[in-house]
């Protein structure tokens, strides 16, 4: 494997008296899609929040392109190029689509805001049509596009997608995974955190199954998909 873009060693994180993540190791190489799978409440979102500096890291280290980022405030992590598209989208409903996208380049990518906007609108023509509309009036699928577009505005080195298919119709889920593949084909490294196991494995170069704060199964996407252990691990049997 090439020099990892993101490297996590022994990551421990949690809330209050509870440790949610109990020592995770994970690498994402440039241009790779790595999936983290697991059912609700196993710590997927905690992992993302720890990576983006929203909650403190209690142990271990996180490096982006060799540089320690654990313990940094989220603005510095964004500045370094680790962009997290959160679960539930977290767009700004009272602002227009355009304002949301512009805020995507608040910390990073601002000098090339115009080019990046063009690129996002080329990827999501729907957002171009709706650019003056308030973001809160978009459909769920459009809001997800907006959240990803907002992430792209920051010129990510690594994009974390937290449950991008959540709450979308089956047709839109297909579209979402096709999009993830397309972004990756353009060279973007992606950490895909999903409940949607089979579709994620079909895309991912490598995948980890998270359970009770630990990776219980790791391997190449295609291998994992065929592994009978997967079902056991995933269902917690």
């Amino acid at each position: 494997m090439a020099e990892p873009l993101l490297s996590i060693r022994g990551l421990v994180a949690g809330y209050g008296g509870t440790e949610v993540l109990r020592g995770l190791d994970l690498d994402v190489a440039p241009g790779e899609i790595v999936a983290v799978l697991g059912s609700n409440g196993v710590g997927k979102t905690t992992l993302n929040k720890a990576l983006s500096g929203v909650i403190p890291v209690r142990g271990g280290e996180i490096r982006l392109e060799g540089k320690r980022i654990d313990g940094s405030p989220s603005k510095d992590i964004v500045e370094a190029g680790l962009i997290h598209v959160p679960e539930g989208r977290r767009i700004f409903p009272d602002m227009t689509v355009l304002e949301n996208l512009e805020l995507g380049s608040y910390r990073r990518g601002r000098p090339r805001r115009a080019q990046n906007l063009e690129r996002v609108f080329a990827t999501f023509p729907r957002l171009l049509e709706r650019r003056t509309q308030r973001a809160g009036t978009l459909s769920g699928g459009e809001q997800q596009m907006l959240a990803i577009g907002r992430g792209m505005m920051a010129e990510p080195r690594l994009l974390i997608l937290d449950e991008p298919s959540l709450g979308l119709s089956p047709l839109l889920v297909e579209e979402m995974f096709a999009l993830v593949q397309r972004l990756n084909a353009e060279g973007l490294a992606i950490l895909l955190v999903e409940q949607n196991v089979m579709q994620s494995l079909a895309l991912a170069n490598r995948a980890h199954v998270l359970e009770n704060g630990r990776f219980v199964l790791s391997g190449r996407g295609a291998d994992l998909a065929a592994d009978p252990e997967l079902e056991k691990a995933y269902l917690g049997l």
């Binding site: 964004v78 602002m95 995507g104 608040y106 910390r107």
Partner: protein
């Protein structure tokens, strides 16, 4: 009944007073909208700003000139107090912020009391008794100036919030703190900037109030009580709501002073307050929960 001229004059006078209410309320609602806390130090900050303007006047500087220095000064003070006192002391708990601001208000009021005693003071500016003649009504000059300055400040604030990246960052934090953090907005910085803007608005309000009003260590509370009504009326966290609510409450106060007698002017305000809570608790511009 009163003649239409008198009623119109009362409405215009109310509008002028209402502009200052609007300014004090905008500061309160802005901080509430972003930090989701009621700033209990709001009244004390206004009082402190009025004393600052008073001291400046004693040094020979007219409040309308002093505002140029006091507004930035109070922005810096507000920023610093939020960033290095309220923020760290709250440990991320909203109710702690509430208590810290309450504590701050007690400290500020008592420092002012110790420094200036409880005497009520006023200043005597050359334009204090001049007036603007509209043909059918004379409007007091200090209040007309206050109205003008308030409009300018409201316009500047609107441009800041609607048109600049800094303003968009403030609105983003108000709506979704996590979403804001994830696009790289420095949330603690935005909190402090918002607090600073609130304090700067109060400094402007203080400077335009002083020529026509008095100052003592508790004077700010009267305004804040009205501001609470305005903020509830306009909708918690809504800046346009606070502006319109402030003007409206000014008119209500003036008219109820006219009809119920000068000393009962505030009666109308609190009747409105109770009515709003009964009929439309989210306020005129508030989000429906």
């Amino acid at each position: 009944m009163f003649s239409p001229e008198i009623v119109t004059a009362a409405v215009l006078n109310g509008l002028l007073t209402g502009a200052v209410y609007a300014l004090v309320s905008v500061a309160l609602t802005l901080v509430y909208g972003v930090l989701h806390i009621i700033n209990f130090a709001h009244g004390a900050t206004l009082t402190a700003a009025m004393f600052a303007a008073y001291v400046a006047w004693q040094a020979g500087i007219d409040p309308l000139v002093a505002v140029i220095g006091l507004a930035p000064l109070f922005f810096v003070l507000g920023y610093a107090v939020q960033r290095w006192i309220i923020g760290p002391a709250s440990h991320g708990e909203d109710r702690n912020i509430l208590l810290v601001t309450l504590g701050l208000s007690i400290v500020i009021e008592n420092v002012l009391l110790a420094t200036f005693r409880s005497d009520t003071r006023s200043i005597d500016v050359p334009y204090g008794f001049s007036s603007v003649d509209l043909g059918f009504v004379f409007l007091p000059m200090p209040r007309v100036i206050a109205f003008g300055i308030t409009c300018v400040v409201a316009l500047l604030l609107w441009i800041l919030l609607a048109r600049t990246d800094a303003g968009k960052a403030i609105r983003a934090v108000a709506k979704d703190k996590l979403g804001a953090a994830l696009v790289g907005i420095d949330v603690p910085h935005v909190y402090a900037v918002t607090f600073g803007l609130g304090a700067a608005c109060l400094a402007v309000a203080a400077c335009v109030l002083l020529p026509s009003y008095f100052v003592n260590p508790r004077v700010g509370n009267a305004y804040v009580l009205v501001a609470f009504t305005v903020v509830v009326l306009g909708g918690m966290g809504s800046v346009p709501g606070a502006v319109i609510g402030g003007l409206f409450i000014g008119i209500v106060e003036s008219l109820s002073g006219l009809y119920f007698g000068e000393s009962l002017g505030q009666l109308g305000i609190f009747l409105i307050f109770i009515l709003v809570l009964l009929v439309r608790p989210t306020g005129l511009f508030g989000a429906r929960a």
